[in-house]
């Protein structure tokens, strides 16, 4: 064991590198410990030639290393050179497995048996985690590998793939083209895989292209094969190669073992850090992706800053100029003062630490709104969250009478329903006086709700009251609702869960906050779907009004959140309110009538069931094709290609059909788009009219492609200019309308001419998907171009109509 270091830096990603470089620059004693035999393993593993982006552009870089947008190789070279020239003390092949606290600081242990003493530790290990290794005997033999770069590299081998996730499936199927492939699944089915991969692997197994051992585990690896524990006893499979794709375990357990606390059990949540990036363990700092900053530039800045703080330098954070500019709208006030007064005035934000609050404000927009101006309008499709910093705003609760407003003062928030339901705004909000409001993106707020208890608490209580008022009891004063709100409870249901079942006793009502439900009943031993109920509606009033057991089963069609209300409390509210009682009873009678009609027409119910099974319940706008009208002219695809750089974002023929309704492969603009969940530069947005689209800041990482369960996102090279229709008609120049534009052909030509060009073209791929033609005059081109009226884009609210009309 050597001298005691001032700081040990674990992980040489952009954050760790930058920290080490600054420590070297300052002459601070340090060591940078990296698990791999090269720096920055996450970026090292990007696709060869990938174009690395330097987003956000406005954020200045603060590091002793350079970083500019460029190819992966250039970025890595620059860092390696930088590390050399500043003489950073880097230890490769040093996988830190344990960090103990000692009286003087920390002791770090590596897998290789080395130990380091340090006063401080900077954890910059990113989020990629540890690849799960084979732990059985022989797991370290050379025939075992954990990655597959190019499946075409192998031919005529026998290969055993271990694992049942997407990576294992994709590898096994790709390898099966040229090899004999076995796949080893610990369970009896492939439950973890995406829908597309599931059918891929089941098809391959069915055809015999891949042979599968279910409920089997590796017992022992031999130099020329593997011994498996299968339900039929031990089996030995001779093979040339074993590819283990058993996933990665997230770094959380390791981090917790270091003493760091996580705010909740939620697997997405990250540890909290102080304004100087210190965790709850004094002397242990966390920066980079693990601290919740998922981009390279942010990570590098933090690496620099954390070392500067350790050195006692009091530097303002790199984002200071950005915040100064942002707060310009408020007046000439120092950033720290504004932050302090935000904490004071706005209760939702009052318990945020400075770092979090800065982050929230950076991502938020500050609007100075003049008296009388609209902040947003009813039916807008935005999902941002607003807080009032100064002034009063009014919420127009009655569509027909704009003078009916509920007034909100500074400190209050609005627009919170956008966080929950992902549907249109339910009311217009206007400024009653000049005011300053903050508009915070949904993603930022969700992160806050997960990590800060007080935010969730404050939001829930208020939003329950407002949702009840909006959707259930319009016009009933808040005082009358107090008991009802106090006993209300938020409940979550997964797709397919029953909210209640036919014959149950109980008189709770549920107001659907997000998601949607199907109502069904048993007729002659068969389940008949009676109705589809989207968010913003209530269910369960029948039992309450009729004092009978539940007359139908209600199931969540997709992930659904409801407010569960006590029947007694609601009856009490109704007793005081005749208008409310009448409207609930009218709805009750209308539903009874509809149920009768639907019970007589089980086909209609089957259509709803089909649509729900296709996941259409979580859509806001889905393309449906009526097969009795479609003449297969593919004009829809041509129109899409023609208006989107030659690449159609819809595949008409693919996708399931039922009762002459066909659901082609095309974006459904989900209520809570899965694709948005994990986009490093936050390039996927929802436009005011609901379109989910990807902007130019896409870095081509492919996360969205993997996350979309409906397979509608593709990675494609940027489009080439297309020649005009006239020049095609007259001179045959360029590509025909709807043809995969000439860039495909251009690319081929380039390939043969110049190998390098091709690489660049491939590596600058970006994600593309249907954007609902938001930039095309006249809207959805596919629908407009359909000459027969077969193609229509519909929202879930219309499903009932479709089902009733279709034969």
């Amino acid at each position: 064991m050597g001298e005691r270091l001032k700081v040990a830096i674990v992980g040489s990603g952009p954050a760790g590198l930058s920290a080490a470089a600054h420590a070297a620059q300052l002459g601070m004693s340090h060591a940078l410990l990296e698990r791999a035999d090269h720096a920055s393993d996450t970026i090292y593993k990007y696709q060869k030639g990938k174009f690395v982006m330097a987003t956000p552009d406005i954020l200045p870089l603060r590091s002793d290393l350079s970083f500019m947008a460029g190819r992966r190789e250039e970025v890595l070279d620059a860092w390696n050179q930088g590390l050399d020239s500043c003489r950073a003390n880097v230890h490769y092949n040093s996988d830190v497995t344990k960090i103990d606290r000692t009286s003087e600081g920390f002791q770090l242990h590596t897998a290789g048996g080395e130990a380091f003493e340090a006063e401080n530790v900077i954890l910059s290990i990113g989020l990629q985690g540890n690849i799960n290794k084979m732990r059985c005997e022989g797991g370290d033999l050379p025939l075992v590998q954990y990655q597959l770069d190019d499946p075409e590299e192998y031919e005529n081998e026998t290969i055993v793939v271990i694992g049942a996730g997407d990576a294992a499936i994709e590898n096994a199927v790709a390898l099966s083209a040229q090899n004999t492939v076995f796949i080893i699944n610990r369970r009896a089915e492939f439950a973890r895989a995406k829908q597309g991969n599931l059918s891929l692997i089941l098809g391959a197994i069915d055809k015999g292209a891949v042979q599968c051992y279910y409920e089997s585990n590796p017992l022992k690896v031999e130099p020329d094969g593997i011994v498996l524990d299968t339900p039929d006893g031990e089996v030995t499979v001779k093979c040339n190669r074993i590819i283990a794709r058993m996933g990665a375990s997230p770094p959380r357990r390791f981090v917790e073992a270091c003493g760091v606390e996580f705010p909740s059990e939620d697997p997405k949540v990250l540890p909290e850090v102080s304004p100087t990036y210190e965790s709850n363990v004094p002397g242990l700092y966390i920066v980079g992706a693990l601290a919740g900053y998922p981009l390279i530039k942010q990570a590098m800045n933090q690496g620099y800053e954390v070392v500067a703080y350790l050195n006692g330098d009091d530097i303002p954070p790199a984002d200071e100029p950005l915040l100064i500019e942002k707060f310009q709208a408020i007046g000439d006030v120092a950033v720290s003062d504004v932050l302090a007064s935000i904490r004071e005035t706005i209760p939702v934000f009052s318990e945020l630490n400075t770092l979090l609050l800065r982050e929230v404000m950076l991502e938020s927009e500050v609007h100075a709104v003049r008296q009388g101006e609209d902040i947003f309008q009813r039916n807008d499709y935005s999902s941002t969250f607003y807080t009032i910093f100064a002034g009063h705003v009014g919420i127009q609760i009655n569509e027909d009478d704009p003078s009916q407003v509920v007034e909100l003062k500074e400190g209050a928030f609005f627009g919170e329903m956008g966080l929950i339901s992902g549907r249109r705004r339910t009311a217009t909000v206007v400024a009653l006086t000049d005011c300053v409001v903050f508009e915070t993106p949904r993603r930022t707020m969700l992160k806050l709700i997960q990590s800060v208890e007080s935010v969730k608490r404050i939001l829930d209580k208020t939003s329950i009251l407002r949702q009840i008022q909006t959707h259930l009891t319009p016009g009933v004063p808040a005082e009358d609702l107090e008991d009802l709100v106090d006993s209300a409870e938020i409940q979550n249901f997964k797709a397919g869960d029953a909210i209640f079942s036919q014959g149950d006793t109980g008189n709770h009502m549920h107001l659907i906050r997000s998601g949607s439900c199907t109502v069904s009943t048993r007729v002659g031993g068969r389940e008949v779907v009676l109705s589809y109920v989207p968010a913003g509606n209530y269910i369960g009033e029948m039992a309450l009004l009729s004092n009978m057991p539940r007359s139908a089963t209600v199931k969540a069609a997709n992930n659904t959140e409801t407010i569960c209300l006590s029947g007694e409390d609601f009856s009490a509210v109704m007793a005081k309110n005749n208008i409310l009682r009448n409207s609930i009873e009218a709805k009750f009678r209308a539903r009874l009538r509809q149920n009768e009609q639907m019970a007589a027409r089980p086909e209609a119910g089957n259509i709803i069931q089909f649509l729900v099974e296709q996941g259409v319940g979580e859509a806001t706008d889905v393309l449906l094709i009526d097969e009795t009208l479609c003449v297969h002219c593919d004009n829809c695809e041509k129109a899409c290609a023609e208006t989107h750089g030659g690449l159609s974002r819809l595949n008409r023929e693919a996708g399931p059909s039922f009762a002459s309704i066909h659901v082609p492969t095309s974006c459904r603009h989900c209520q809570h788009p899965h694709c948005m969940a994990d986009c490093p530069p936050d390039a996927i947005h929802r436009a005011p009219d609901g379109e989910v689209f990807i902007d130019d800041s896409c870095i081509g990482c492919g996360n969205c492609e993997n996350n979309c369960p409906y397979g509608v996102i593709q990675l494609a090279s940027p489009p080439k200019e297309k020649s005009s229709l006239l020049s095609w008609l007259l001179f045959g120049k360029g590509s025909a309308p709807g043809e995969e534009a000439s860039y495909e052909a251009g690319l081929l030509a380039e390939r043969t001419k110049n190998g390098e060009k091709q690489e660049k073209d491939l590596s600058s791929k970006k994600a593309v998907k249907c954007d609902m033609c938001k930039d095309v005059e006249g809207g959805a081109s596919c629908v407009n171009a359909c000459p027969t009226g077969a193609a229509a884009r519909v929202s879930p609210e219309k499903f009932m109509d479709i089902a009733m009309l279709s034969q």
Partner: protein
């Protein structure tokens, strides 16, 4: 949810066309020109110009269909209007001609136009009938799925045929390797399959009782029958889809011919004025 072309927008374009036809008819009836009605009177010129206008507009549809993302008139509007105005054109141009037919360029134009209209009516019939038939025929499958199922059956057939006598094996080999789906246009349209090797193999295996062992024979027979079923589905699919496009290869070239004749008609008329 979806409206067919014919009832689109409450048959707005049918109504417009009916009004057009009615007005034309009334004018024609109450118009008493010197001599017999013909294209040379003021009404003749008016109706001729109207007919030519409609003609050009109908042809413009071909261009419009290929320019996407323009101003917001849906293709369904165009198509629906195209059909009803196309039919109205029959009446307008007939009244224009004043029933003066002979052996000349004018009458050629008239019949060319009528032929385009006729082909349009046939096409419309296809558009209305076939989609449903296609959907029923496919029964929820896609062409791709059907083709994969066939190649799956082919693989099994090849496997089973390893153990049978040479002649059966040969028939099965033929069925696996030489079965055609499309063929030439005539084959596609007539569904002519008399020499389909799959059918031949099925018949052969059916009749060769006792040549190979019973369980293999049964396996071969079920696969061959299944494949035959799929084949007939796919062939019907191909036929219908082919017809859905084929009529346009008559409709459109004759449109061009009609336009040329129209120009000739106008030139001739003015030349001999």
């Amino acid at each position: 949810m979806h409206e067919s072309l014919l009832i689109y927008r409450n048959m707005r374009y049918l109504k417009i066309s009916l009004v057009l036809v009615l007005v034309t008819g009334l004018l024609y009836v109450f118009h008493s020109p010197v001599g017999s009605p013909n294209g040379g009177t003021w009404l003749g010129y008016t109706l001729g110009t109207l007919a030519a206008g409609i003609m050009v507009w109908l042809s413009w549809f071909g261009i419009r269909k290929r320019s996407f993302g323009g101003p917001a008139m849906r293709m369904e509007d165009w198509a629906s209007a195209h059909i009803y105005l196309g039919l109205a054109l029959v009446v307008v141009s007939t009244f224009h001609s004043g029933f003066q037919f002979g052996i000349n360029i004018h009458t050629l134009l008239y019949f060319l136009m009528m032929f385009v209209v006729l082909s349009g009516v046939v096409g419309l019939y296809f558009y209305i009938r076939f989609p449903k038939m296609l959907a029923e025929n496919r029964a929820g499958l896609t062409t791709d799925i059907m083709l994969t199922q066939i190649s799956e059956l082919d693989r099994e057939l090849s496997d089973f045929s390893l153990t049978v006598d040479d002649e059966t094996a040969k028939a099965v080999y033929e069925a696996v390797h030489n079965t055609k789906i499309g063929g030439n246009l005539i084959n596609q349209l007539t569904l002519y399959v008399a020499d389909c090797p799959t059918m031949a193999a099925r018949i052969f295996v059916e009749q060769s009782d006792g040549v190979c062992d019973e369980s293999t024979r049964r396996k071969l027979l079920t696969r061959l029958t299944k494949k035959e079923g799929l084949l007939s589905r796919i062939r019907k699919d191909v036929k219908l889809r082919c017809l859905l496009q084929l009529w346009l290869y008559i409709h459109v070239p004759f449109t061009f011919a009609t336009l040329a004749a129209l120009v000739a008609h106008i030139v001739v008329v003015f030349y001999y004025w």
